[in-house]
Assembly symmetry: C2
């Protein structure tokens, strides 16, 4: 099995689940439902949910039990994009080749749609049918920590403050770890938690997620410099205009490419060690290929 | 015991708890911590937490067990004010006689501080030491429902959309029920839940909360018309300028005053019935006076 097949197997079902959960959360307020759906069903690659499922499958768990945490994670990822795109923050008019939420619905609705997705994420987890109370509580605590003022939001705040000063590469790595890494690490932690994976497996998978998250952000920074607008679906050289601290702006493009390659090699190393140790059920061996292929998202 | 004494007994301890919870959630990002603290510790009357505690006390429960849900509720109430005050929504420069968050810290920080308070509310509940997993899960589900896209946020969205049309009084009541009522009802539900109150007691208290919430909003609408700026701490006649649907704008000031009196009488009726039935431990009888005095907040 490769990532493509894995995606084909799960994404249709998961998208249906996501849309029906949205309907459960917002049956009555039409404008809010429309704005939430526009961003939630707006062509995201669903990398984070897929990562929950692949981790869960590799650990020998039941992928369906990962639907609720994966959906909560996708709700939160989506809210963060809506708020990040607002004029007061990144001021982006396009995302994934479509107008951003506030360009379509206005700022007030975009703010509320983001707030609504964030709140509904926790409702969904608390009300999920397939998890024990103890699993729910641990998932809610982990997700709130990853997305909250010590995780993603701290990274966003650091990012805004960083615009006024030049960061070192170590400082930038910390911003990235919180802003992008925390939710990607949650995906893997959620997969391990739902599968009741042992600590050794979980530890290695978390290390993999750390590299993947970091690589994801370096890749994102580089994309803005080396790819063209058709490929990225959003305005390029936007970071440079905003005077953002990025891997290429601190290290130069060539060194940033090398750093990305290092990160990818380290991530591969984690998976190779797990495979060499046979740290998962033998009939899930093919899922290691699926996980390897997540790194294709961040290659340039 | 009256409300004043009850407040004196609990508010110092609760404010310390609130501030230390904020410290737990945001140890590292200074600007975020400052903006969150500015609004959270900014002189709110803490009506919702007090209502959790008074309900809990009347039911014979341990008030300290109400600290976590009350703090989560206050975090969420505070976030909703920060986002509501934003230029894109209500565009308020003052709140409780002080500059609003975005006037002090800028819009980007205000948006993120609100997001952070909302997220941290759920972290706090999930990590609370004094509640069972089952209580935590039910509280998280209730709070997310009350604050989310079927509760408070739907009400905010209805409110924005209502600016462009004239609502009937029934439609306005529904907006209020969601926008203001839902969180006030949560306060009472949380008190009942933590105290393991019986369904009859909880039902009557919830009816009381419904009237209190509605009265609170009618009072708020009336304040904008009949009180002056020094008393309200914010700009008056703001609603009329924004062309908002309010009780006085639909019914006229006099009828709105009468409606408020009706609501207060109904709320008193709920408490009187509970008292007549002796539906709570005898040595908590004095707490019924405390609850009666919540209605003083909404008298004009």
């Amino acid at each position: 099995m490769n990532l493509n097949e894995f995606q084909t197997e799960w994404m249709g079902k998961f998208d249906d689940y996501l849309y029906s959960e949205l309907g459960n959360c917002v049956p009555m307020q039409e404008s809010l439902h429309e704005a939430m759906a526009y961003s939630l069903m707006g062509g995201g690659k669903r990398i984070r949910p897929l990562l929950v499922f692949a981790t869960l499958a590799l650990a020998g768990g039941d992928v369906k039990k990962g639907f609720a945490p994966a959906a909560a994670l996708e709700f939160i990822h989506t809210y963060s994009l809506i708020h990040d795109d607002l004029p007061a923050i990144d001021n982006d008019d396009y995302r994934r080749g479509r107008l951003t939420s506030h360009k379509v619905y206005g700022e007030a609705t975009a703010i509320l749609a983001g707030d609504a997705l964030l709140t509904a994420a926790f409702e969904m987890l608390a009300e999920s049918q397939n998890l024990s109370d103890s699993q729910k509580i641990r998932l809610i605590a982990l997700l709130a920590k990853a997305a909250g003022p010590n995780g993603m939001i701290a990274g966003q705040m650091d990012d805004i403050e960083g615009e006024e000063k030049k960061l070192t590469i170590e400082e930038l790595m910390q911003v990235h770890e919180k802003k992008t890494g925390a939710l990607i690490e949650f995906a893997v932690s959620a997969g391990c938690l739902v599968a009741d994976a042992d600590p050794h497996f979980s530890g290695k998978m978390q290390a993999f997620a750390k590299y993947l998250g970091l690589g994801y952000q370096i890749h994102n920074d580089l994309k803005d410099v080396v790819l063209d607008e058709n490929e990225t679906g959003k305005k390029i050289h936007h970071d440079a205009e905003m005077n953002k601290n990025t891997y290429p702006s601190i290290l130069g493009t060539k060194e940033a490419m090398l750093a990305l390659n290092d990160v990818i090699r380290n991530a591969e190393g984690c998976l190779d060690e797990l495979a060499a140790e046979g740290a998962f059920p033998a009939d899930e061996r093919d899922k290691i290929i699926v996980l390897h292929q997540f790194l294709d998202y961040i290659r340039i």
